[in-house]
């Protein structure tokens, strides 16, 4: 759009002799917990020479990029998701003709960086636009939407909008100031029962680090937290665009008793801050146990020690003794994960055989480790098999991987295979708080054996619909396709068991009502149900794929993922985004990043281009420039500088 007079003045004020960011807009549309985010930026090469202009955006790892477009002085590059090999071949052909440039995605903690760079002649204007989609996961009673803002320099027109539309109503919206004191009170929230709009629009003056500064103070994470109104214990069933999504998050139920074996890695690598923070977290976690809970602690390095060979009641005395034991641990030696997990399983088995476990209680092992096995059984597949063998159907394994020296994929695999989840704990952050937060998420199981069913012939392609547990503050989500019907509404039936209760719940949704409502909403994300179903299905298939027992099974799953990713335009680990100019003779390729453990990438650094030409000056994080003058055409092909992030 055209700048207003005031913005034009601002633009002229910040216009330097290199690159000027004219506008930077971020927009998220969240509808029924599914979010479509767009980062859009207009940049002008104000310098006298052609320069390399970059567009860097940090996106959450769980998000799928759905599109990237770029307009360089009238030439539009449009993105399309293709099977990785197809995209790579097309890209390789363009590269051979010198008509290709790279887009890179890099891993760093829970975000990954999307970078696109292009050489632009003096005075030219570039528009970048990146789209990604993600599902909001409810944790500790809230959905948290984060946007990583790093415009790098002062922007005359900076605006962030988050539009939330929740058909059953919004219970609360909050925008904690995570950008620092400088921006206190600048975010504005307007909301009514179903809609909320968050605007963050700092003026140029407000962006300056100080009154006379030419640098921007705007760098960090913008956070919106919200929750929805839950009027029905049966949850919300939303039908839209031929798809349904059922959200199940009952409240006001008493927690089930727990039987927990904490398995803590105390190998030499845990020495120092990691151990200190683990001990801190364990002190708080142990305090949370009640007389209804039973627990034990195993600490392991090359040896395995049990604080107690059997489960003990979470009484004040036992908790105090356990805390003392943890406090005195001195990390050293190797890592024998296999033996430690088997011992934990044996403790639970023993308790079960002795009739100590309440039939409705939840039994779990919580593993905290920071490294790969080095002692005893070190073959990951063998450990996985052993663990699965010892875990009964009613035992769950939760894995916490501290730092980047641990094979997180392995931890995730053994957790999901045994009805648990995994979480990475960043050792350089507040690990103690992260551990506590994770524990809080799993410390209040409310229901067991939850199944969501639909009348025969009413739905198809249903995502996971039976769950081992439901934890307080979380949410179970089931999606699927709605089959054509003469009826007017879809029913769903939920069965579950609680402490002493057996529950059977029922809810229904009108086939047409939500779509009619969405059509009236200016900022709703229509088509959310279709994309959400695909998002959940692809993620489930990716998880199934990593556990596929045979090559042929894996191939079948791969094909399903590819079909879905291409149809729904998701950049997954198996697909890539090919960005082509209108004439299709110049191409860019965005592949998904590798896990830092798997080879190419420097874990945590956020950089994946080892042979990149050194940058000059002090470029801001996302607008980077080189001083190498490059003649037209606008998209200067420099094949020798390209690095494609390969995967799978």
């Amino acid at each position: 759009g055209v700048l207003t007079n005031e913005e034009q003045e601002d633009f002229e004020a910040v216009q330097g002799d290199d690159i000027t960011v004219e506008s930077y807009r971020v927009e998220s549309r969240i509808t029924s917990r599914f979010c479509h985010t767009t980062f859009k930026s207009f940049v002008v090469n104000s310098g006298p020479n052609a320069q390399s202009i970059g567009f860097h955006v940090q996106i959450p790892k769980r998000a799928f990029i759905t599109n990237f477009t770029m307009n360089v002085n009238g030439v539009t590059f449009v993105g399309s998701v293709k099977e990785k090999t197809v995209a790579r071949n097309l890209y390789a052909q363009a590269r051979a003709r010198g008509k290709a440039a790279g887009i890179v995605r890099a891993n760093s903690q829970d975000m990954e960086t999307f970078k696109a760079e292009v050489h632009v002649p003096s005075g030219n204007r570039i528009e970048f636009e990146l789209h990604y989609q993600e599902m909001m996961y409810r944790k500790l009673g809230l959905y948290e939407h984060t946007l990583h803002l790093q415009p790098g320099r002062l922007v005359p027109r900076f605006q962030l909008d988050v539009y939330i539309y929740e058909p059953n109503g919004i219970a609360s919206v909050e925008v904690p100031n995570t950008l620092g004191e400088h921006f206190t009170g600048l975010a504005q929230v307007t909301s009514n029962k179903h809609k909320a709009h968050v605007v963050f629009k700092p003026s140029l003056k407000q962006q300056r680090k100080c009154d006379n500064c030419t640098t921007s103070a705007l760098s960090g994470i913008f956070t919106v937290k919200y929750d929805v109104i839950r009027e029905s214990a049966a949850g919300e069933l939303h039908v839209s665009d031929g798809h349904f999504v059922h959200f199940f998050a009952p409240t006001n139920l008493s927690p089930l008793p727990k039987n927990i074996v904490f398995v803590i890695d105390v190998s030499g690598s845990m020495w120092g801050v990691k151990m200190k923070q683990t001990v801190e977290a364990m002190q708080a976690i142990l305090d949370d146990l009640t007389m209804d809970d039973y627990f034990s602690i195993i600490d392991f390095n090359h040896n395995v020690r049990c604080w107690s060979d059997e489960l003990v009641q979470g009484s004040t005395i036992q908790v105090a003794e356990a805390k003392k034991y943890i406090q005195d641990i001195k990390p050293n030696g190797g890592t024998n994960i296999n033996e430690a997990l088997l011992r934990a399983g044996q403790i639970l088995h023993k308790a079960a055989n002795q009739g100590m476990l309440n039939s409705r209680s939840v039994s779990m092992i919580i593993l905290v480790s920071d490294g790969d096995p080095t002692v005893g059984e070190i073959k990951l597949s063998a450990i996985q098999k052993n663990v699965k063998k010892i875990m009964r159907e009613d035992f769950s394994l939760f894995s916490l991987g501290i730092g980047f020296d641990v094979d997180y994929d392995f931890l995730e695999r053994i957790a999901t295979e045994n009805r648990g989840v995994a979480q990475r704990i960043y050792a350089n952050k507040d690990a103690s708080e992260q551990l506590r937060r994770f524990y809080s998420q799993v410390s209040s199981p409310l229901l067991r054996k939850i199944t969501v069913l639909f009348p025969e012939g009413s739905v198809s392609d249903v995502t996971q619909n039976s769950f081992d547990k439901y934890f307080s503050g979380s949410e179970l989500v089931v999606a699927g396709k709605v089959l054509p019907s003469d009826g007017t509404s879809l029913n769903s039936f939920i069965t579950a068991s609680s402490d002493r209760l057996d529950l059977s719940l029922q809810t229904e949704a009108d086939y047409m009502r939500l779509d009619a409502e969405l059509a009236r909403q200016q900022h709703a994300f229509t088509g959310f149900a279709r994309q959400m179903w695909a998002y959940i299905t692809v993620n489930q298939l990716l998880s199934e794929r990593s556990q596929a027992p045979t090559a042929s099974r894996k191939r079948k799953i791969t094909q399903r993922i590819l079909n879905l990713a291409v149809e729904h335009q998701f950049v997954t680990p198996l697909t890539a985004l090919l960005v082509e100019s209108e004439e299709a003779n110049e191409k860019l390729l965005a592949d998904s990043p590798k896990d830092p453990r798997k080879g190419c990438c420097g874990g945590g650094s956020g950089t994946v281009i080892p042979e990149r030409t050194p940058m000059v000056e002090s470029p801001p994080p996302w607008v980077q420039l080189t001083t190498t003058p490059t003649p037209s055409p606008a998209l200067g092909p420099l094949p020798e500088r390209l690095t494609i992030v390969d995967n799978d």
Binding site: S232, N252, L501, D502, S504
Partner: protein, 246 residues
């Protein structure tokens, strides 16, 4: 609230009103034999101006307590709660649900009714009556329906429970009353002779909006003479209280 007591052996319905104060808990069924008690707490209509005398009372909360199971189901116009000592599970009226704990089953029909069944022998159904929130006087209230087929012990009592053992009733001296539309008569019950008036009350089970008329003999003075003792002797301190009988 209005009470309609169906007396199958006598083939008649008898009705009476009890207008106690908002907040009072009335014992409806108290059966130490089966360990089941049903109590109802009164809620008043909104007061208009200074006419405090005209406050009507309804059941705002009804509880069913099964002493043997240690389970209490508390149904209010807002929520349905299941309590077993230390545990408390709460459900809204917003979902159709079946909840089973030990011998107690709670069936919720979305925004409509709740049925509590104890050991398949005693069943209590509560009907939710929602009114317009901005209504100047009316408030949400519960209707209570207890079938005659409930299998109480011989110790059952309470405003409704006492009729588990049906009394002999004789109605005679039918004559025209002051209101030409309402006949009057004399009723002999429990050794009392009562002046009764023919009238009707509503059963809302089939049609929650309009209800269907149940013709009944109306007992004046809060059921005096028809119920054992005075209605105030049925006021209990807590929702899980059994009736204390002298």
């Amino acid at each position: 609230p209005h009470f309609i007591i169906h007396l199958p052996k006598n083939n008649m319905d008898v009705c009476f009103n009890i207008d106690s104060k908002p907040g009072h808990i009335l014992n409806l069924v108290s059966d130490p034999g089966t360990g089941v008690v049903v109590n109802g707490q009164l809620v008043g209509s909104k007061r208009v101006g200074v006419e405090k005398e005209n406050v009507k009372t309804y059941f705002g909360t009804i509880s069913v307590f099964s002493q043997l199971d240690g389970i209490m189901v508390t149904v209010s116009t807002d929520r349905i709660q299941l309590t077993d000592g230390k545990h408390n599970h709460s459900f809204s009226w917003g979902a159709t649900a079946d909840i089973t704990q030990d011998r107690v089953k709670v069936s919720i029909v979305k925004d409509s009714q709740v049925t509590v069944t104890v050991d398949e022998k005693i069943r209590v159904m509560m009907l939710l009556h929602r009114v317009w929130k901005k209504h100047p006087t009316s408030v949400d209230f519960l209707g209570l329906y207890i079938p005659n087929s409930n299998q109480y012990s011989s110790k059952a009592h309470g405003l409704i429970g006492q009729f588990g053992q049906e009394p002999e009733v004789r109605v005679y001296n039918l004559h025209q009353g002051a209101d030409p539309l309402k006949k009057e008569a004399t009723m002999e019950v429990k050794g009392n002779k009562l002046a009764v008036t023919r009238g009707w009350q509503k059963d809302y089970r089939r049609d929650k909006k309009r209800g269907s008329d149940i013709f009944c003999w109306f007992i004046h003075n809060s059921g005096k003479g028809f119920i054992d003792g005075h209605y105030t002797t049925y006021i209990v301190p807590r929702l899980d209280s059994f009736l204390q009988r002298p």
